[in-house]
Point group: C2
DNA sequence: TGCGCCATTTGATTTATATCAAAAGCTGTT
DNA sequence: AACAGCTTTTGATATAAATCAAATGGCGCA
């Protein structure tokens, strides 16, 4: 066992200081809380780190924790019986993990590279909400955002061509790339197979379309999978 | 104009009586309210009816209303620039329409057959919630359910074959078919083109796969598009 | 009853993407 | 530097689903 349930125990280091120093302060679902409420909420949190490929949540596991990504990227995916995989979302810093409704998780969450997550027990959220009901509105906001993204992805999976899918994917990544404005290069965090599993394609189709976009001079790829979008608006037209 | 915004005005007939007589009492997001709160909430509601094909919500329109389907089925869909359409969800009685977060609707909602909706102004939800915060948890529950369904559909669109898609669709319909247990026949509410737009297929592929399932004796179709699932478990294996 | 208008089905063909296969590129290690 | 074990790319071919086209079926209405 190396997922949240087994890793949560012990050595938390909650407290307002941590939350005020939080790298996603203002993005996370706790951002709606005022100073007083935040202090109380902060005490409930624990931070956990994960390394590339580590399972964070497992389908079927009891829904004990809700989390907020403070660093890194996670992939959320489902599996069919025969092993076919579909990534149903990518989680970026500030994004919420899990929910406070279901009895069990119904998907897998895996770290893509190094990941840090701020965790809260679902049961503690409930008692906290008794005096701070605004936390529900905040969680609702995050859930609504996830629903909106999922619906955009339904259109992509149902109606877009392979090349349109790749273009949309690159633009999605560029939106979440928080590097300097002048430096347009960013690292593609996923392997080709993972991109395929996100876009409902095969690895070969992904690779061919990357090559095609390079030939069309819309993108360039540098050492270590660093990507530069050469013609942003042309890519947008394709997507 | 023939959508909610234009139809809401005037002749509402709120009050507790209506809500207690509500056909989806216990299913809708208002079901979490106790008798006292329900009376207050009920006074805020208006009921509207729509006929087949009528637009209920329009993309880009200001998000003024949240609704609960009390009767009939709606389709929620998005369009690409070139007219390609993807149905992102079907709404059944008890399902929530819209949200209380976004500034604008970002999809279209259209009546499939005769539809009745119970409407609330988003702004009134906010003031109601000041004294009845449990309404947020209730709306969160509905939103979370929609997210869960959207994610199931991502797997369907991204990774399932045409025949698997049709099988999943028929099973989805049968779950929402609230007719008598003995009578297994139900009407398919969507046209072939709409089914195609829901499953990310073309009308011809949908038709061919219906024919194929009929040849395999897994389903039967009677007059007026009444459908009988002959071999439920075989269909489940395919889905 | 028969006509017109759709929706659906079926057939023929094309095509985008998957599949199968092999070569080429990386990266870390000895 | 050379090798092992990957990932990615490219090529050849197959195939599921799309496209193009026509026939069939239903249903309301004059």
């Amino acid at each position: 066992m190396n997922n949240i349930t087994s890793l949560y125990s012990g050595n938390g280091f909650g407290g307002l200081d941590k939350c005020n120093n939080c790298p996603v302060r203002g993005l996370s679902f706790c951002s709606a809380l005022d100073t007083l409420a935040l202090e109380e909420f902060s005490a409930l949190s624990k931070t956990r780190s994960f390394t590339d490929g580590q399972l964070i949540l497992t389908e079927g596991e009891v829904n004990e924790y809700i989390g907020s990504i403070t660093e890194g990227i996670v992939k959320v995916y489902k599996l069919l019986n025969d092993g076919r995989q579909q990534i149903i979302s990518l989680g970026f810093p500030g994004d919420m993990l899990g929910n406070i409704i279901d009895a069990e998780y119904n998907y897998f969450v895996e770290a893509v590279g190094k990941v840090k997550i701020c965790l809260y027990r679902v049961s503690r959220i409930a008692s906290f909400a008794a005096t701070n009901p605004e936390i529900y509105l905040s969680i609702l906001g995050k859930t609504n955002q996830q629903l909106s993204h999922a619906r955009d992805w339904l259109v992509l999976l149902g109606r877009k061509t392979a090349k349109e899918k790749i273009a949309s994917f690159l633009l999605l990544l560029s939106e979440h790339h928080l590097g300097s404005e002048t430096d347009q290069a960013f690292k593609i965090p996923l392997k080709r197979q993972e991109i395929a599993d996100f876009l409902g394609l095969t690895i070969e189709t992904v690779s061919r379309n990357f090559s095609s976009l390079k030939n069309q001079q819309l993108i360039r790829e540098q050492a270590g999978h660093m990507l530069i979008i050469v013609d942003y608006s042309a890519l947008k037209n394709i997507s």
